[in-house]
C-alpha cells in the first residue's frame, strides 16, 4: 500500500534527493545547522523554565532589587532581551546557511545537467 502511494509521488519529475542528501556539502550544512540550533534551543528552554521553577518552588525572586522592583521583574525582562537577541542571532546565522544551501543546490543542478 505504502509502496503504491510512493510510486504515484515519484511519477512526477523529482530531483535526486538521495544523492543530494548523501553529498558531503549537504551533510556539512545539516551538521552546522544542528550544531547551532540544538545548543541555543536547549539554552532558551532552560532559561525560560528556570523562571516558573524559581517562582513556584522558592522565594528568591521576591527580593526587591531596584527600589520596589523585585528580582522576578528583572528576570522576566531578561526573557524579553533573550528572545530579541536570539531572534537577531538566528537571522544572522540563517543568512549564512542560506548561501551554503544555495551552493548545495547549484552543485546539484550542475550535476543533474551533466547527466542530461
Amino acid at each position: 500500500m505504502e509502496q503504491k502511494v510512493e510510486r504515484v509521488e515519484r511519477s512526477q519529475p523529482v530531483h535526486d534527493y538521495e544523492s543530494i542528501a548523501a553529498s558531503p556539502e549537504f551533510k556539512s550544512l545539516v551538521r552546522k545547522k544542528n550544531r547551532f540550533l540544538l545548543p541555543v534551543v536547549i539554552f532558551f528552554l532552560l532559561f525560560y523554565f528556570t523562571l516558573p521553577l524559581l517562582t513556584s518552588f522558592s522565594t528568591v525572586l521576591n527580593k526587591p532589587v531596584i527600589g520596589d522592583i523585585t528580582l522576578v521583574w528583572i528576570f522576566a525582562l531578561a526573557q524579553f532581551v533573550m528572545t530579541w537577541t536570539l531572534c537577531m542571532l538566528y537571522v544572522k546565522k540563517a543568512n549564512q546557511f542560506d548561501s551554503e544551501a544555495d551552493q548545495v543546490l547549484t552543485k546539484h543542478h550542475k550535476s543533474e545537467g551533466d547527466r542530461l
Binding site: E2, V5, E6, V8, E9, V14, H15, Y17, E18, I20, A21, A22, F26, L29, V30, K33, L37, V40, V41, F44, L45, Y48, F49, L51, P52, L53, T55, S56, F57, T59, L61, N62, P64, I66, G67, D68, I69, T70, V72, W73, A76, L77, Q79, F80, M82, T83, W84, L86, C87, M88, Y90, V91, A94, D98, A101, V104, L105, H108
Partner: protein, 507 residues
C-alpha cells in the same frame, strides 16, 4: 454609547469591509483564497502574525490579569513571547519549505497517507473550534458590555462579519484586517501606556511603589504567587504556552502566505519585535488599571478583569479614548476569528474534501466552492456552540487550545522534520495520543469538576491540574517514539527528500 464611539465602530467596520471588497476582486484561486497567493511581504506578514497573536485574550485578558494579580498576570506575556523562539528555531522554515496550505500538507510531505492527513485535519479542527468558541464567547461578553446589546446579538454580529471577510476576501482580506487591527491596537496601547507613565511622572520606580499601595494584594502584588499557588500547575501552564504556539493552525498557516522560507523568517522577526513591545506595555496597562481604576471597579465590570483596559482608557482619556480602545478591541476580535475560520475551512475543504474524499482530483473551481462552503460551515458551527457556551471560562478554553496544539501537533511536526526513524505508525500514535490525553485530562480536571459547584459539573476532579500539558505533551512525544520503534522500518529515501527540502527549500 456616545456618538463618537459609534463613529469609531462604523469607521472600523467600514474600513475592513472596504479592504475585503478590494481583496475579493483578486481572490479567484484556491491559492489566493488560502494563502493570498503567497504574495505578502515580510513586514506585512509579520504584522499579521502579531495581529493573529494579539487576540482579545491578550489585550483584554492579560491587562486584566496583571491589574488583579500583579506579576502572576505577566506569566502569560512571557510564555507567549518566548514561544516565538520555538517557532523560529524549530518550526517556521521547514514548515514553509514542506507545506502548501495546511499543517497536514507538511506531515503528508513525508507520509503520504489518507489516515495521517485525516488525523492532522481532525486535530486542527479541534484546536480551531476551542479557540474560536473562546474568542466568540469573549467577544459576545465584551460587545454586550460595550454596546449594551444582548449576548446573542453580539455573537451573531461578530459571526456575520467574520464570515463576510473570509467568504469574499479569503486570506488577503483576513491578513489586511489583521494588519489594520494590529496597527490600531499598538497605537491605542502606546497612547494608554504613555498616559500611565505621565501620571507616574515618567518614573518607573514610582510606578512600582505606588501600585503596591493601590491594590488589595499590597507588597505581594510585585511578587509571584498571588494567583498561582500550585507549582506543578504553573509549570504545566508554562509548558502549554511556550510549546502551543508552534502548533496553532492559524499561526502556522501564516507561513504559507509568503513567497519563501527567507520571507517567513523575516516575518517572524517583525512579529517578535511587535509582540514583545506590546507585552512589555501590558505592564503599564495592568499597573495603570490597578492604580487608576482600582480592583473593585475592575471586578465589578467583569469578574475575570477583562474590562480593565477599556476602563483604564476611560479613566485617563475620557469617553473618546474609551471608545477608541473599545472599537480596537472589537476589530481585534473580528480579525482573529476570521483567521481561525480560514484555518478551519482549509482543514475541511483542502484536507478532508479535496485530498481525502476526492483524492486530489478537484478543479480550481470546485476547490474554491468547497472552501467557501467550509467557511460557512465552520462559522455556523462555532456560532451555535458559542451561543450555548456563554457561561464558560474563556481563559480555560484558550489554554486548552494551546495545550492540544502543543500535545497533538508539535511532537509530530518535530519528528517529521528531524527524526529519520519516524514512521506512519509513530505519526498517528503521536497525534491521537496527544489529542486524546489532553481532551480526557481536561474533562477530568477542576475546570469541569468542582465540589462546590463553581465549575460546569459538581463533584471531585479526578485529575488535579487545570492545565494538563505537563502530562499530555510528553505523552505525545513518547507515543510518537514508541509507535515508531515498535513498528516497521521508516522509509529512509522519503526522509532524504524531506531533509533536503526542509533544509534547502528545493521544490
Amino acid at each position: 454609547m456616545s456618538a463618537v464611539g459609534l463613529l469609531f465602530f462604523v469607521a472600523i467596520v467600514g474600513l475592513t469591509l472596504f479592504v475585503t471588497y478590494l481583496a475579493s476582486k483578486r481572490t479567484n484561486s484556491a491559492s489566493e483564497f488560502y494563502t493570498a497567493g503567497g504574495g505578502l511581504t515580510g513586514w506585512q506578514n509579520g504584522i499579521a502574525i502579531a495581529g493573529d497573536y494579539l487576540s482579545a485574550a491578550s489585550f483584554l485578558g492579560i491587562a486584566g490579569a496583571i491589574a488583579l494579580n500583579g506579576f502572576d498576570g505577566f506569566f502569560y506575556s512571557i510564555g507567549y513571547l518566548v514561544a516565538y523562539l520555538v517557532v523560529l528555531y524549530i518550526v517556521a522554515e521547514p514548515l514553509r519549505n514542506l507545506g502548501k496550505y495546511t499543517l497536514a500538507d507538511m506531515i503528508t510531505a513525508r507520509f503520504n497517507q489518507q489516515k495521517i492527513r485525516g488525523a492532522a485535519a481532525v486535530s486542527t479542527l479541534t484546536i480551531v473550534l476551542f479557540y474560536m468558541i473562546a474568542q466568540l464567547v469573549g467577544a459576545g461578553a465584551l460587545i454586550q458590555l460595550l454596546l449594551g446589546i444582548d449576548y446573542w446579538i453580539a455573537v451573531l454580529l461578530v459571526g456575520i462579519m467574520m464570515t463576510t471577510y473570509v467568504l469574499w476576501g479569503g486570506m488577503a482580506a483576513t491578513s489586511w484586517v489583521q494588519i489594520i487591527k494590529a496597527v490600531l491596537l499598538m497605537i491605542g496601547t502606546i497612547i494608554i501606556s504613555f498616559l500611565v507613565l505621565m501620571k507616574f511622572d515618567f518614573n518607573i520606580l514610582k510606578m512600582f511603589s505606588d501600585v503596591k499601595t493601590a491594590t488589595p494584594a499590597g507588597d505581594a502584588f510585585l511578587s509571584p504567587g498571588v494567583k498561582y499557588t500550585n507549582g506543578i500547575d504553573t509549570m504545566s501552564m508554562m509548558i502549554a504556552l511556550v510549546f502551543g504556539t508552534a502548533g496553532l493552525p492559524h499561526i502556522l498557516m501564516r507561513f504559507f502566505t509568503v513567497k519563501d522560507a527567507k520571507t517567513a523568517r523575516s516575518s517572524v522577526v517583525y512579529a517578535t519585535w511587535i509582540v514583545g513591545i506590546f507585552y512589555i506595555l501590558t505592564i503599564f496597562l495592568g499597573f495603570g488599571a490597578a492604580a487608576f481604576v482600582g480592583s473593585s471597579d475592575i471586578i465589578a465590570a467583569n469578574a475575570a478583569g477583562n474590562m480593565a483596559a477599556p476602563l483604564l482608557a476611560q479613566a485617563l482619556g475620557g469617553d473618546l479614548l474609551m471608545s477608541f480602545v473599545s472599537a480596537v478591541a472589537f476589530a481585534t476580535i473580528l480579525a482573529v476569528v476570521a483567521g481561525l475560520v480560514l484555518s478551519g475551512a482549509s482543514a475541511f475543504a483542502h484536507d478532508i474534501y479535496g485530498q481525502i474524499i476526492k483524492k486530489g482530483n478537484v478543479t480550481e473551481k470546485e476547490q474554491m466552492k468547497a472552501a467557501r462552503f467550509a467557511s460557512i460551515g465552520v462559522s455556523l458551527i462555532s456560532i451555535i456552540l458559542a451561543l450555548g457556551a456563554q457561561s464558560m471560562n474563556v481563559a480555560f478554553l484558550v489554554s486548552l487550545a494551546f495545550c492540544i496544539a502543543a500535545s497533538a501537533n508539535l511532537p509530530v511536526i518535530i519528528y517529521t522534520i528531524y527524526w529519520k526513524r519516524f514512521n506512519t505508525t509513530g505519526a498517528l500514535a503521536a497525534m491521537l495520543t496527544g489529542l486524546f490525553t489532553a481532551l480526557i485530562l481536561v474533562a477530568l480536571s477542576p475546570n469541569i469538576w468542582s465540589p462546590e459547584g463553581t465549575a460546569i459539573l459538581t463533584g471531585t476532579a479526578l485529575f488535579p491540574l487545570t492545565n494538563p500539558a505537563i502530562v499530555s505533551v510528553p505523552a505525545g512525544f513518547i507515543a510518537g517514539y514508541v509507535g515508531s520503534v515498535l513498528s516497521a522500518k521508516a522509509d529512509e529515501r522519503k526522509y532524504a527528500e524531506v531533509a533536503v527540502k526542509a533544509n534547502t527549500g528545493l521544490k
